[in-house]
Symmetry: C2
Subunit: 147 residues, 2 copies
DNA sequence: CAATAGTCGACTAACTCAATCGACTTAGTG
DNA sequence: CACTAAGTCGATTGAGTTAGTCGACTATTG
C-alpha cells in the first residue's frame, strides 16, 4: 500500500507551488531545493503535471512553473492518479481502471478492497492544496513562535 | 497505493483455508486450483504465513495446511503486513516502520498521509477471515439460488 | 519402502523505479 | 542580435523488486 516517491515528490512540489501561488513562477531549482527533490527527476515530474493540465510554465529568464488554477481547485487524489495511476489496492475494484474479476470464489474479499479504495479516495479527494498550504503555513508560524 | 500480488494471493489463500476450517488440512495444490494461484509461488507464500504463526502444516499423505487459530481471530491487516510490510503510504507515518521525517516544510502533507494510513488500517484490522468467509458463503448461496 | 506432501534455499527473467544525460527550443537582457 | 537563463523532450541506465521456477531434501503414512 505504498505511495511511489514520484507521487510523494509530486505532491510536495504541488504544495510548494501552492505556497507561492500568485507570486512569480518558481524555478525547478528552487522547488528542488525547498523540498529536497533531485532536480533532474523533478523536471520530469513537473513536465508530467504540466501535460496533465495542472501546471503552466514560462521559459527564459524569470521563467518557471506555476499552477494553472487556484490551489483550492486541485486535490491530492488527482495528482497521485496522474503520477501513480489508480488509487485502488487491486485493479478489479478500481474506478479508473476497469477490469473484470474472474475470481468469483474470493468475492468476500472484493467488498473489502472496495471499502479501502473508497476510504482512500475520499480522504485524498477532500484534501485540496489550498487547505494543505494553509496547514503548512500554520505549522511554520507555530514553530517560529517556539513550540 | 497498490497491493502486491503476493499480498492478494495470501489473503485469498487464507480465505480458502478459512472456508475449510475444521475439516481436513488443504493441499497446496487444492488451494492453488481453487484460487487460481501458481502452485510453486503459493508454496512460498504459505511457508511465510506458517513462519509468521498463522498456519500449521502436516507432511505426508493426508497432509496439508490449516489455520493455527480460528478465522475470527485473524484479520486482513496482519496478513498483508506479513507479506508486504507496513500499510502506511510513506514511511514517516508508519506505525510499524519508524522513521524520522526530515521535511518540516511539507508537514501539511504528513497529516494527510496519517489519515490515509489510519483509515486503511482500521478497515483491514476490522475485517476478520471469519467474516470474509461468511460473506463468501452467502454470495455463493445467493448465486446458486439464481440472482 | 514407495508414494505423498511439505521444506528450504538458490536462482532468474521481467519489470519498475529513481535518476541521469544530452541536445534542443524559447524567451528575455544588454 | 548575441548571450544566457530556463523549460522541453527522449533516451538511457543502474538498482532493486516482483513474480515465479527449480531441484534436492525431509517427514509421514499405508
Amino acid at each position: 500500500m505504498r505511495l511511489s516517491t514520484k507521487g510523494e515528490y509530486a505532491s510536495r512540489a504541488m504544495l510548494e507551488l501552492s505556497l507561492h501561488h500568485e507570486e512569480k513562477p518558481l524555478h525547478i531549482r528552487d522547488i528542488s531545493k525547498a523540498q529536497d527533490i533531485p532536480e533532474r527527476f523533478l523536471e520530469q515530474i513537473l513536465l508530467q503535471l504540466k501535460r496533465a493540465g495542472y501546471l503552466r510554465s514560462r521559459k527564459g529568464p524569470n521563467g518557471g512553473y506555476y499552477l494553472s488554477k487556484p490551489p483550492a481547485e486541485i486535490n491530492v487524489a488527482e495528482v497521485i492518479r496522474v503520477m501513480d495511476g489508480p488509487l485502488a489496492p487491486i485493479d478489479c475494484v478500481s474506478v479508473t481502471a476497469h477490469e473484470v474479476c474472474p475470481h468469483e470464489s474470493s468475492c468476500g474479499l472484493k467488498g473489502l478492497w472496495k471499502e479501502v479504495r473508497d476510504a482512500v479516495a475520499k480522504i485524498m479527494e477532500t484534501a485540496t492544496f489550498e487547505e494543505l498550504a494553509e496547514r503548512t503555513r500554520a505549522a511554520r508560524a507555530g514553530r517560529r513562535r517556539g513550540a
